[in-house]
């Protein structure tokens, strides 16, 4: 199972800043292991962030994104105590969702 994300969300003057750290190998599919065999691609393909069930960010990721990706973004709205949920799906169909309260 995928490891948890660390999500921080803080509202200030009507704008919420979200910072997300994801644990993922983000294997490109181009690398070889010590025996010369290709390491199969394994990376996040889609990511979405929801504020109280309303979609605020939708992103497509690819193999060029680093291991353990870090994502920061801002959106208009959001208040202290609101829910913010982030979900990603990878090319193997694995998925992970985490939720925090906006601080």
């Amino acid at each position: 199972m995928a490891s948890p994300m660390r999500i921080r969300a803080a509202a200030k003057d009507g704008v919420t800043e979200v910072r997300v750290l994801m644990a993922h190998v983000m294997e490109t599919g181009q690398r070889k292991d010590s025996s010369g065999a290709l390491i199969p691609a394994h990376f996040i393909t889609e990511l979405s962030a929801r504020h109280n069930d309303k979609l605020v960010l939708s992103a497509q990721f690819g193999p060029s994104v680093s291991t353990n990706p870090y994502l920061a973004f801002k959106f208009n709205g959001g208040a202290k105590g609101d829910k913010l949920a982030v979900t990603w799906v990878d090319n193997k169909g694995d998925t992970r969702s985490d939720e925090v309260q906006i601080a």
């Binding site: 490891s3 660390r6 353990n68 870090y70």
Partner: protein, 265 residues
């Protein structure tokens, strides 16, 4: 025209030769600052925190009774005062060896498994996550190790000796790379560990997440790799020489602020 061109070329050459320029080019601090918010070491810290609270091992116990020097279960500030002499074991222990001791005594996980294991694998990987958890709770603390105990003095002296001890196929010592200012390996600046600032820069910025290989390295891992780079015999995990070098570095860096966990190239 020609003269003018020469003058321009000369001033350009001077600009490029200026040491300030070279320093800026090699400055990793700006990058580190950008990453400070999203240091992936946090992912290890989260894992470590869970491991600290999870009942595991043959004795099915948590580590919440583990005494890191400030009393049973006290984590904040503990790393800043390690290595230290522990009365219960009558040994000088660094964070890794102390955690290993707790895992063995409280949880029944044999230390042999970790000592004979590999970095980033199995119990040794779990130990590294625990290290990430503990050091994060000493971030920004001043390094404050107590060198008054005779065994600490002994370890400091041994560490100093090991630091200058030339060995291996290349006749290398730690001091070969770490006893002058402004030395570097490729673009990585090497701290001058013979000076307090340098020792603090080294001791106070590991454990760290290494961006180039996406791995979290503890100080034991860092030291092991230094030995490997010297082309000398691998030190045994958490052996006295590694703890002695740690006492030497931490002791010299005493009083400086620790940035834990660090971010490295």
């Amino acid at each position: 025209m020609r003269k003018q061109f020469k003058a321009v070329a000369l001033s350009l050459a001077l600009a490029f030769a200026a040491p300030a320029f070279a320093q800026d080019e090699l400055n990793f601090d700006a990058y580190r600052e950008m990453l400070a918010d999203g240091n992936p070491a946090e992912l290890y810290e989260m894992e470590g925190e869970e491991l600290w609270r999870t009942a595991r091992g043959p004795k099915n116990a948590t580590l919440e009774q583990c005494d890191l020097g400030l009393g049973a279960g006290v984590v904040p500030g503990a790393a800043a005062q390690l290595p230290r002499h522990f009365a219960d074991t009558d040994r000088v222990q660094d964070l890794e060896s102390r955690l290993m001791y707790c895992m063995e005594t409280l949880q029944g996980i044999p230390s042999e498994q970790i000592i004979k294991g590999k970095f980033l694998k199995d119990e040794r990987a779990k130990l590294a996550a625990l290290v990430a958890y503990v050091v994060t709770h000493s971030n920004g603390e001043k390094i404050a190790i107590d060198l008054s105990h005779p065994k600490m003095k002994e370890m400091y002296a041994l560490g100093e000796k090991a630091f200058y001890y030339r060995t291996g196929a290349m006749d290398f010592a730690c001091s070969s790379c770490h006893s002058q200012d402004g030395k570097r390996i490729r673009a990585t600046q090497l701290p001058n560990i013979t000076k307090p600032e340098g020792a603090a820069a080294g001791w106070g910025s590991w454990p760290a997440y290494r961006v180039s290989n996406s791995q979290f390295w503890t100080m034991q891992h860092r030291l092991w790799d230094c030995f490997r780079q010297q082309r000398t015999a691998e030190p045994i995990f958490a052996s006295d020489v590694t703890i002695a070098l740690s006492v030497f570095m931490a002791g010299k860096g005493n009083g400086a602020e620790a940035v834990w966990p660090g971010v490295k190239r």
